[in-house]
Symmetry: C2
Subunit: 330 residues, 2 copies
């Protein structure tokens, strides 16, 4: 079986819980913020949630993108590390149910998770425990599956531990030797700040297509405008996508550069907008859509996702994206 | 003497008057709207203003751009038709005082004017009487000066009468034969709607660089996104600038395309934003600035203008644009 895109990153199970505002006060978190927490803190938060209904869904930036591509009709596979607990099993089951082939390894630690506290005003307060994710190492990379794929997709979150870095490095060199197209998302601005040197090297040595939002792109290229950031990114790797939030997006591959008007929608929750953009764009690339059309698939997918809560669409993305998928224009 | 840019269009004297809200009701106009009025209506409005202080300033889209270029240090000249009245004399005097050489012709009609009613909330309600502007004809074109210029700048407003069209056509063919660079602004969306066929032909046959906002560009190219509009415009003429309001701008000449981030400013009055963009961009082009730098000069100039009332800066634009003019980047 051919694999269109194989992704490697942090399998984080999203644990959605409805809470009242007082709960945030009780556990001393500020609404809408994201916290990186340790195991003890996770235990305390889960204990405090005692009795509330917890809704687990496979999450993490890369997995969100792969699920998006799979639901559009692409064949995808995913590698990462979960724990030997229930959440690890649920993660794999639900990921495969969403159409993504799992090459997830597991160990004896706790599965990484993001406790997402949803208050009645629909605000989301996130608490991420990386857990087993950080134990990914080179021996967990499914080399045989990787060599069969057309594209490798990774994110900057893989640079946080030496083991993950080794795994990423092995995946990149294997992909290079096997002739895969390599795409990378810079993950988030903090990730860029932590690993700027590494990222510049990785882009130069291994990557064909980089995804960044404007803030990440400016930080990595040390410029103050999107156009120059794009030019610098493309000195390192031939393809680059810079999303500009409400101002649209810039995409460039080969000799071509295109600007994408923003779709005029009302943003409810921008979680997962970048992941959806990458899904639409990569799916378009797999289908050999024109550059402008790839960009439209990405920005339309992102525009749909931000109009409701959560990083994914409940409806079938093939239906939702139909107006753009069927668009005959280039 | 060399002329960097010669412009041809409608010399409209701006008549700024402070009025109270009740005055708008009295003369039955809606705040913030633009009205095209006839001579009788003009007389009535001026009569109703009886006793109020009227502040006359040379205006019109093309003149605004030329004054901007002149104040940045370019040498500019301007042709159009005024009446034999005081406003005609004041127009020429103040235009030359602003650094623009006048090749303005005059006849026995009334000078075109825009009565700008400024209410205490700083809203501007415009009433434009075209008057003598519409009498411009081929015999008024200063052919000798035109041949000495490096660039001809015209706007779509010249297509409203057969005489003006003949004048524009003579200017375009003379410029072509003399090897001038020809730049054209599409003027406004209504103008595009009225003359779309003519504009497409003019762009194909005569124009090197077209200026449009997104609405005008989409209307003329019959597309629904800025990137495709740009591509179509460039099938007709090699250079194109599409301003995107608060989303930035797209500029393209030769093999190059650049996106300009918007400057994050608070818009007070967007009157003259497009005129200022053209002034900064053309001044950059005259100085052989890079494409990105031209765009930055245009968008920075526009960003400054929209932060205060009126289409021009009171301060010296060379001082205001210093941060961009001195910017060594490409």
């Amino acid at each position: 079986m051919t694999i269109d895109v194989i992704g490697i990153e942090n399998p984080l199970i999203d644990l959605l819980v409805q809470v009242e505002d007082e709960f945030l006060e009780q556990i001393q978190v500020e609404k809408n913020k994201m916290y990186l927490i340790d195991q003890e803190r996770l235990r305390n938060v889960l204990q405090a949630l005692d009795g509330r209904r917890i809704h687990p869904e496979p999450g993490g930036s890369c997995a969100n993108t792969l699920i998006g591509i799979a639901r559009l009709g692409g064949s995808t596979a995913y590698c990462g590390m979960v724990g030997g607990d229930d959440y690890g099993r649920v993660y794999v089951e639900k990921l495969e149910a969403a159409g993504v082939k799992s090459y997830i390894a597991s160990n004896g630690n706790l599965t990484g998770s993001t406790v997402i506290l949803v208050t009645p005003d629909a605000a989301r307060t996130m608490n991420t425990y990386l857990g087993a994710c950080q134990d990914l190492d080179a021996s967990s990379i499914p080399l045989e599956a990787l060599r069969r794929a057309r594209m490798l997709y990774i994110t900057g979150y893989l640079w946080d531990t030496p083991g993950q870095q080794e795994a990423a490095q092995l995946a990149l060199s294997t992909a290079g030797k096997a002739g895969l197209t390599v795409a990378m998302s810079l993950a988030d601005p903090f990730c860029v700040a932590r690993h700027a040197e590494d990222f510049r090297r990785i882009l130069r040595e291994h990557v064909h297509l980089v995804f960044a939002n404007r803030e990440e792109a400016l930080a990595l290229t040390q410029t103050d405008n999107a156009q120059q950031a794009l030019r610098v990114l493309r000195e390192w790797c031939p393809g680059a996508v810079i999303t500009l939030g409400g101002n649209g997006a810039l995409v460039a591959e080969g000799d071509e550069l295109a600007y994408l008007d923003p779709f005029p929608v009302k943003a409810v929750d921008t979680t997962g907008a970048g992941d959806a953009f990458a899904a639409g764009y990569l799916y378009g690339k797999l289908r050999d859509a024109s550059l402008l059309q790839r960009g439209r698939l990405g920005s339309y997918f992102a525009a749909q996702v931000i109009q409701h809560m959560g990083p994914r669409l409940e409806q079938d993305p093939r239906t939702v994206l139909r107006p753009v998928l069927d668009d005959p224009r280039n």
